[in-house]
Amino acid sequence: MLGVDIGIEPRRVRRAVALVGHETFCYDDLTVTENVRFVARATGNSVGDADAALERAGLQRVANVAHARLSQGQRRRLSLANALARKPRLLLLDEPHAGLDEHGREVLESIVRAAPDAGCTVMIASHELDLARGLSTREVHVVAGQVRPPTSGTTGAAPAPVAVPTVEVEAPA
């Protein structure tokens, strides 16, 4: 995976992968800035990387707010900032549109579209098929653990110029 044998060097692989899921993996007592900077340092990046990621996620206004007091949407964007601060080569997004407001979705979109230029592949697992399709170039359906080819007529209509594959899970929640 990513050119490294995952069985022998799992840590190197983990550093190169970023996961944005339901939980933020953050510390309630620390501020947004402190959390993102910790993630950056922990993955061998700099404080500057952290601050830049924070800006791209649009969290400047809550930079000094403790994690415990963030709203759901802000936490989602914090997850994105953490992911960016790791400078990953593979970005895994699990239901990224959930909990994001309009502004948040713009942030998500800009991050996903800019990812390939930074040498990063993005994989999205989502129930929001229309929104996810808008961001992706390739689509995979997973139904009850089985991979199925996508139904025709969908990928052709997607106006997405970015070269990112999408994984869309259709198993009922």
């Binding site: 840590r11 190197r12 692989v13 983990r14 550093r15 992968v17 996961l19 939980e23 933020t24 993996f25 953050c26 510390y27 309630d28 007592d29 620390l30 402190e34 910790f38 993630v39 340092r41 922990a42 993955t43 061998g44 403790a66 994690h67």
Partner: protein
């Protein structure tokens, strides 16, 4: 060296959490003081008895406080699946161990100063043999912090974590209790030379605990 740098990042994170939340300062250290008081009640405020038992009572109070310190060190990892975040960070388990244990050790040192002061004042103790006191305290504290961190991660993520860690940790750190008490006793009795075998015991324990933790922390963090 990346190992040391990563450990410092982890230790810094834990200490920053403490500075922000002040749990050790406002809860754990006062707990140590309360235990010192409790012992006085238990021994019926008998000054002679308290004076004689002071070394042991000091370490008993510290041991109980370690349970809280270790509990706190790992409870911050429970919320928001931060524990998984640590696993995904790609940092070597040994580094995380050293970092977390170091942070606990720092908190313990502060606690020992306060509890020590309380013991000196309340149990009417004359401080002698400072060098021995310091050496034995350093060795003991490192051992306690290391052993505590091992059991903290071992029980981490389990629902019964809060009651399991005390049950697992206390029998395992009896050498520290023994060594610390005897070393302090020798120092306060004015025969610091007698303390050196006990300081050796404390140091051996500390070395073993740190070695065990460096090796075992990674696999334990991965376990479920």
């Amino acid at each position: 060296m990346s190992f040391v740098r990563d450990a410092l990042v982890i230790a810094g994170k834990d200490l920053r959490i403490e500075r922000r939340s002040r749990v050790a300062l406002q809860q754990i250290i006062p707990f140590g003081g309360i235990v010192v008081l409790l012992f006085a009640f238990a021994l019926d405020s008998d000054r002679t008895l308290l004076h004689q038992a002071a070394p042991g009572l000091f370490w008993a109070a510290v041991l109980l406080a370690v349970l809280l310190a270790v509990g706190r060190s790992f409870s911050v990892e429970e919320a928001n699946r931060a524990r998984d975040g640590l696993r995904l960070s790609g940092i070597d388990g040994g580094s995380i161990f050293v970092g977390k244990a170091a942070a606990v050790a720092v908190e313990l040192f502060l606690l020992e100063i306060v509890v020590g002061a309380a013991v000196v004042v309340l149990y009417d103790v004359t401080v002698r043999g400072i060098v021995v006191l310091l050496c034995s305290a350093v060795a003991a504290t490192v051992g306690l912090a290391a052993a505590g961190t091992v059991y903290g991660v071992l029980a981490g993520g389990l629902r019964a974590r809060e009651t399991l860690v005390p049950l697992l940790l206390l029998p395992a750190v009896t050498p520290v209790m023994l060594g610390g008490t005897r070393a302090f006793q020798a120092a306060l009795d004015g025969s610091p030379g007698d303390a050196w075998p006990w300081i050796q015991l404390l140091t051996a324990f500390a070395v073993l605990a740190v070695a065990a933790g460096t090796v075992a922390f990674g696999p334990l963090l991965e376990a479920a």
